[in-house]
């Protein structure tokens, strides 16, 4: 059961062979057994989890089951919740309690989900390894000397080790897909504007999007169908987005007639040989399922990293100005004056990577540099969007590796931010273009998971889910489990 999919747990709840309380208790036990090793959760309130589960069982008995009735879902520490702290894994928000739920949290609650707790992440979602968290790094269940990816590393690790059957992450430049890839699970970043951002702590507002991290494609669809939809409280949440039949999209078992674009720029020297081999093998499998592979070019791909690392920090530099210690958050001891209060509070509260990005962003926006950096980056962004639009004139979907490398060791890249930034090279462009993307497991390289990334036109998550479902149905990678975490009670067998 621990490694069951959400939909399997749902079946068992529906047939009465288990209860929400039993399910919650099972995962709480696993968290108790393994979280010290993984540091995937930064906040757990077991009593609150069980109370939600009991309420869910009661609701099922009295009113019938809602769409996510009794299903445990963990959420990244970036989602504001009325219950418990919301700290974005930053010291500047230490012990911050939001007086509101994020819109997607409300949606999950209304659907009957049981919120398991807050998962670890890179501070303010800035990082690709979960090492910038103020609450210590999270570890990869496939090898605990390795990072789980980031920034949604805690959610990825927790799902991969079955400390929860599913979790929410956020994806600004790959923060759902890259850790999903590095931990061998499925992660979906919806089209920008599909899911409300209200109550999700902002990193880069024009790029941020929340999405599910799950064991199967259908589970991802189940959650997205609940959290998506227009929210009048988020002006960037699109009011007339095409409605999808999320679950029906997952019924696809073949790829007949599907034209899959394979961009040459995503298969370059320097990528991990095992990653290349796994992805090429996956593409062959797609051909066997009836797809046609089409060589395409996304010529401006190489500019994505530079554009992203101007736009995202620029927006972040303003988004993080509110952490000024005036109304909430960390304030330094005995400030001498206003400037001292600002500088010392922020210096003490923010970690190195966050400061680096605030400085980068403030520089890019400053007078005399704006045109050369921010404006230029926005022009590149438009070019990248145009690349995808042109590509989708000839293909239905694009397939790439999610990351050029598999998970790396803790500390291996912390001194080298530029190499770290390159681990998101295949995911960033999708955010810049606002497109939906999905990563699913497609093999292993040196015993570490490899992810296959699907990219679809805007609002066509159904195409993503269809291709990924067909591939998942024909392969077994999503059923692989990290051996060290197969038992519920820690190291005992």
């Amino acid at each position: 059961m621990p490694f069951s999919s959400l939909s399997h747990i749902q079946d068992r709840l529906n047939t009465g062979s288990t209860t929400a309380v039993e399910v919650a208790q099972l995962y709480l036990n696993r968290i108790a057994a393994h979280n010290d090793t993984l540091n995937a959760f930064v906040h757990i309130d077991a009593d609150h989890v069980l109370a939600q589960a009991a309420a869910s069982d009661k609701h099922r008995a009295e009113h019938g089951a809602r769409s996510l009735e009794g299903l445990p879902i963990a959420v990244k520490d970036i989602f504001c919740t009325q219950h418990g702290p919301t700290q974005c894994c930053s010291n500047i928000l230490k012990d911050f309690h939001a007086p509101y739920d994020a819109h997607v949290i409300t949606k999950l609650k209304e659907a009957g989900a049981v919120l398991v707790g807050k998962t670890n992440m890179d501070e303010f979602a800035m990082g690709s390894s979960n090492e910038t968290s103020a609450f210590g790094p999270c570890r990869n269940p496939w090898n605990t000397d390795y990072i789980p990816g980031g920034s949604s590393g805690g959610s990825a690790s927790a799902v991969a080790a079955a400390l929860t059957p599913a979790a929410l992450g956020t994806d600004t430049g790959g923060s759902i897909r890259q850790p999903a890839s590095l931990t061998g699970i499925t992660g979906l970043k919806p089209t920008y504007g599909r899911v409300s951002r209200r109550g999700i702590i902002a990193f880069a507002s024009s790029l941020d999007q929340a999405g599910p991290m799950t064991r199967t494609v259908k589970d991802a669809a189940m959650i997205t169908s609940v959290i998506s939809g227009h929210d009048s409280g988020d002006a960037t949440s699109v009011a007339d987005a095409p409605e999808l039949d999320w679950l029906a999209a997952c019924d696809k078992t073949d790829m007949k007639g599907m034209r899959i674009g394979v961009p040459k720029e995503y298969f370059v020297d320097g990528m991990d040989a095992g990653v290349r081999a796994s992805v090429e093998e996956a593409l062959k499998q797609c051909e066997a399922l009836g797809a046609e592979l089409v060589d395409i070019s996304l010529p401006n791909t190489k500019l994505a990293v530079a554009a992203y690392y101007v736009i995202a920090p620029s927006e972040a530099s303003a988004n993080l100005s509110r952490y000024d210690s005036v109304r909430f958050g960390h304030r330094c001891e005995n400030p001498e004056d206003l400037l001292d209060m600002y500088t010392r509070s922020r210096d003490e509260g923010f970690g190195t990577e966050v400061k680096r990005r605030i400085l980068t962003g403030a520089f890019a926006l400053s007078s005399g540099y704006y045109d050369a950096y921010y404006l230029k980056a926005q022009q590149v962004r438009t070019m990248i969007q145009q690349d995808f639009i042109s590509a989708f004139e000839n293909v239905d979907i694009i397939a790439t590796p999610t990351s050029p490398i598999t998970a790396f060791k803790l500390g291996e890249k912390t001194d080298d931010p530029l190499t770290m930034y390159l681990s998101d090279i295949y995911t960033l462009a999708v955010n810049l273009a606002g497109l939906p993307g999905l990563s699913q497991p497609c093999g292993f390289s040196a015993d570490l998971p490899v992810g296959l990334q699907w990219i679809a036109p805007a609002w066509r998550e159904d195409v993503l889910l269809g291709a990924a479902s067909a591939y998942e149905g024909a392969t077994d990678w999503h059923n692989k489990t990290p051996q060290a975490f197969e038992q519920t009670s820690g190291g005992e067998s």
């Binding site: 504001c80 919301t86 974005c88 928000l93 911050f96 939001a98 007086p99 509101y100 994020a102 951002r197 209200r198 109550g199 999700i200 702590i201 902002a202 880069a204 507002s205 024009s206 009048s232 409280g233 988020d234 002006a235 960037t236 620029s314 927006e315 530099s317 303003a318 993080l320 100005s321 509110r322 000024d324 005036v326 109304r327 909430f328 206003l338 600002y342 403030a362 926006l365 400053s366 007078s367 704006y370 921010y374």
Partner: protein, 477 residues
């Protein structure tokens, strides 16, 4: 050689919506500090702005009233700076593409006659909160009730050449804003605040270095501040110095300005497009609908009052100062159409002066247009004289009673009975035989003396026309 003064003005005007620019909080003035706030206007994590479209409509209406171009696509930007009363660390404003551009406002000035002042742009933005330092020991308090209140910033071209022109422009703008009903524009409540950019130059030369006088909220202070700044700059230059580009603050107590910060210390606001708000798009149809609902503007009303009611330019101007005044006047004329000019004269010269002395205005006048109109009728039908009517008006304002009641009660009805008037005249002639002889001997000027005596004897109630007529006849002998 003479100096030319160049002035451009930026007016921050609070848009009078019930709720704030980007959240549902109340904008009511005077509430307990921090009671009209929510996670959005407090800048809490993850909170997002949602634009108040009524504030957009009111800004468009203002743009249309100054003959400006309405940009069907404009956008919002973030203006970044740190201050404790700015919760998000940035202000949502419009920088590169404002909602309104290229308008103008006509003014009439003493020295240069009719002038057209260009209005560069009107953009929307949110207000910050309020910091309070006074009377507090080593701490400051912050009230965020004002945080997020919608403002329009109205930026003029540097088209004004004197403090008087600046004030004329501001008064016209203030009047227009109030007529449009887009702002209370109460200057004491900070709903209409002005920054003045001032420079001086020799006529024909390039623009001189300007300074900016910040955040003034009284016409008197603005005039003082501009005049002071002009003198200061001229002195600096004539003493061989250079004007430094800087922001200055007017100290109305000391009647002098002081430097706030120079250009070098000025903030780099790092403007960039607000990613939480999509571009602001309005359709031509919406603009047309707003235009169709445009109320009559002050200058249109002035012309109409002159043409339709035959008012003097002065009276028309006085009675169109506010919408409430012109409405009051129109109600008055509608109920008592006999003599619109008399109504205007009396309203402009008698009623408003008295209200001012009573510290009241037309909105809370103790007399209604209909009662005031009856007073006009009593003058018209010769029940009382104009002089008596002034006393009646005083009594009406004091007691709230009707004109007729007061006339009745105090027996003020005009004496128009020839017999009674003749009796009074003959008595006075008998008592003043010397003056009668002198008058008859050619001292015409004494006629006024006799009129005064008769009016005095009648306690002002004698019909002045009849007194004149009868006096002439009886004095002839």
């Amino acid at each position: 050689m003479s100096w030319e003064v160049v002035i451009g003005l930026e007016v921050h005007c609070q848009i009078n919506t019930d709720t704030k620019a980007f959240c549902g909080c109340s904008t009511a003035f005077g509430a307990e500090p921090n009671t009209q706030t929510c996670p959005v206007c407090l800048g809490m994590p993850g909170q997002l702005p949602v634009l108040n479209t009524l504030a957009v409509d009111k800004t468009i209406l203002t743009g249309l009233a100054i003959d400006a171009q309405i940009n069907l696509e404009s956008k919002f930007d973030r203006k970044n700076y740190f201050y404790p009363d700015l919760p998000k660390g940035y202000q949502i404003s419009q920088f590169t593409i404002p909602l309104v551009e290229h308008g103008h406002m006509d003014i009439t000035t003493k020295d240069r006659g009719d002038r057209r002042i260009g209005i560069t742009r009107i953009h929307m933005e949110e207000d910050a909160g309020k910091s309070m330092h006074e009377g507090l020991d080593a701490v400051s308090h912050i009230d965020l009730n004002r945080s997020g209140i919608p403002l329009m910033e109205i930026v003029s071209e540097p088209d004004m050449r004197s403090a008087d022109e600046a004030i004329a422009y501001l008064k016209n703008l203030h009047q227009l804003i109030r007529f449009l009903g887009v702002s209370g524009a109460d200057m004491e409540k900070g709903q209409f605040r002005c920054d003045a950019n001032v420079s001086v130059r020799r006529p024909g030369e390039e623009l001189g270095t300007r300074t900016e006088m910040k955040n003034m909220n009284s016409f008197r202070f603005i005039k003082q501040a501009i005049d002071y700044e002009v003198m200061r700059q001229i002195e600096v230059i004539e003493d061989g110095g250079k004007v430094v580009q800087e922001s200055r603050l007017w100290d109305s107590v000391k009647s002098e300005s002081r430097s706030m910060r120079s250009k070098e210390e000025a903030n780099d606001y790092r403007y960039f497009p607000e990613p939480d708000l999509p571009p602001l798009r309005v359709s031509q149809l919406e603009v047309d609908n707003i235009k169709a609902g445009m109320p009559e503007l002050p200058h249109q009303l002035r012309s109409r009052f002159e043409a339709e009611f035959g008012l003097s330019a002065y009276d028309a101007d006085v009675l169109t100062q506010t919408r409430n005044l012109s409405d009051w006047y129109e109600t008055l004329v509608a109920a008592h159409p006999a003599d619109p000019k008399r109504c205007a004269n009396w309203m402009a010269n008698e009623l408003l002066g008295r209200l001012k002395e009573l510290n009241k205005n037309i909105e809370n006048a103790p007399v209604s247009p209909s009662e005031f109109g009856k007073l006009m009728d009593r003058i018209g039908d010769n029940t009382i004289s104009g002089k008596i009517a002034k006393d009646v008006l005083d009594a009406m304002l004091e007691s709230g009673k009707s004109a007729d009641a007061i006339i009745e009660e105090k027996g003020l009805k005009q004496v128009s009975d020839t017999g009674a008037i003749d009796t009074m005249i003959l008595d006075i002639m008998a008592a003043n035989q010397g003056q009668v002889d002198a008058y008859r001997g050619g001292k015409d000027k004494l006629f006024g003396f006799f009129v005064g005596q008769v009016m005095k004897a009648s306690k002002g109630k004698a019909n002045p026309g009849m007194v004149n007529q009868r006096l002439k006849e009886l004095l002839q002998g």
